[in-house]
């Protein structure tokens, strides 16, 4: 059921990409590289998850066309955090993803983008007795993410942006482990 929902969301995103298209003007173009430095609020959406916390992420992509970039993303996301009797119970996730971004221009300095990524998620739990989303020990899990975002290009070849990314991976239990990141990005275009 959860997988079906995920693919429905991914389908809707791809449809959005198909409807909107356009050439970026004043933003990254074909053969350029874009690096995004992100700070995010990350929240797990699984059983026993507590309020999330900070995630730090870095992604680097090469523009294959004026709209499509493909690259690598890594991060460290604390998706559940609880202070309980002096113990900081938390679960951190380090994604290593191959990421595709599709940009479409909505104004001279503004773009929207859609994300599809796949790769591996390293879980780093520091928990008490209760597992979170079935995760109680460190492990490497296959998964992926989808997302949408907004970029505002200014300061020459630099930009500020925000994005929402939904990550999911196989936890090895009954349900998918999922978490979202609401991220602010600082981006640099490199020739």
């Amino acid at each position: 059921m959860k997988t079906l929902k995920t693919f429905s969301i991914a389908g809707a995103l791809l449809l959005c990409c198909a409807v909107y298209s356009g050439t970026a003007s004043g933003q990254a173009v074909q053969k350029q590289y874009v690096a995004d430095f992100g700070a995010a609020f990350t929240q797990a959406t699984v059983t026993k998850a507590r309020t999330g916390m900070l995630g730090l992420d870095l992604s680097v992509g090469k523009m294959l066309t004026n709209g499509l970039s493909v690259g690598l993303a890594i991060g460290y996301d604390v998706a559940s955090f609880q202070k309980n009797e002096g113990i900081y119970a938390r679960i951190a996730i380090a994604p290593v993803l191959a990421k595709a971004k599709y940009y479409f221009t909505i104004a001279p300095a503004m773009q929207l983008h859609a994300i599809v990524a796949g790769g591996a998620y390293q879980t780093i739990p520091h928990l008490g007795t209760d597992p979170i989303g079935g995760i109680s020990k460190a492990g490497l899990h296959p998964g992926g993410s989808i997302g949408v975002g907004f970029d505002y290009w200014r300061f020459g070849r630099q930009g500020l942006g925000a994005e929402f990314e939904y990550n999911f991976f196989d936890s090895g239990t009954e349900d998918l482990f999922s978490y979202f990141a609401l991220r602010l990005n600082y981006s640099i275009i490199k020739m």
Partner: protein, 205 residues
């Protein structure tokens, strides 16, 4: 920054504020409808519930965002009562709902007191229409010293109770013990004990 950019940031801020209120909880009510006190664990917490009493707890399910995330959780309810055999069951609690779990009698019980001067070593039971006694009903290596009491769970029916006592392991049988689900029968046993049959209704005139 253009008006569109400002609007987009405001929308994001509202969206972010909305995300913080996505905790999912449900309520579990355990009602003890058994004839005796329940003692056990609910999701790892030790509880005792009096006869006809109840225990209520709020179960934290997790976090969700719109259609994504958990809307239920399973927790373990385990324990026993004198007239309820030991059990361990998984109970599913849905977000925003109250789930009621009922504990009901599923056995009867003998309250056996040793009034004899010697220790009771073993107690076995057989159906009244059977000649074969079953295994020792006392827990391993737990005898009944003089003056002590033990509770022994028995299914509904008519039972003959065999008592093994003293160092010489004498045997004595108490016959015709009728028991029903949820019923407690007290036996203050000594040698030559005769179980009193239930009082029969007065004959109709």
């Amino acid at each position: 920054m253009t008006k569109f950019g400002i609007r987009a940031l405001i929308a994001l801020a509202i969206f972010a504020a909305g995300l913080s209120g996505c905790s999912q909880e449900g309520t579990l009510v355990i009602k003890n409808s058994a004839s005796t006190e329940f003692a056990g664990f609910v999701d790892g917490t030790q509880v005792t519930i009096d006869t006809l009493g109840s225990y209520e707890t709020t179960a934290y399910i997790g976090k969700s965002l719109a259609v994504v995330g958990p809307d239920h959780i399973s927790i373990i309810v385990a324990g026993s009562a004198t007239t309820k055999r030991a059990f361990s069951e998984e109970v599913t609690i849905k977000s925003g709902e109250t789930t009621t779990f009922q504990i009901v009698d599923d056995t009867g019980a003998l309250i056996f007191t040793n009034m004899h001067g010697r220790t009771v070593n073993e107690i076995a039971a057989s159906q009244c229409d059977s000649l074969k006694f079953g295994p020792n009903l006392l827990e391993e290596k737990r005898t009944i010293p003089p003056g002590s009491t033990r509770t022994i769970q028995l299914d509904a029916g008519c039972w003959d109770i065999q008592i093994n006592y003293d160092r010489d392991e004498f045997l004595e049988v108490v016959t015709g013990v009728e028991i029903e689900i949820g019923q407690l029968i007290e036996i203050k046993w000594d040698t030559n004990y005769v179980y009193p049959p239930p009082a029969s209704p007065a004959p109709a005139r």
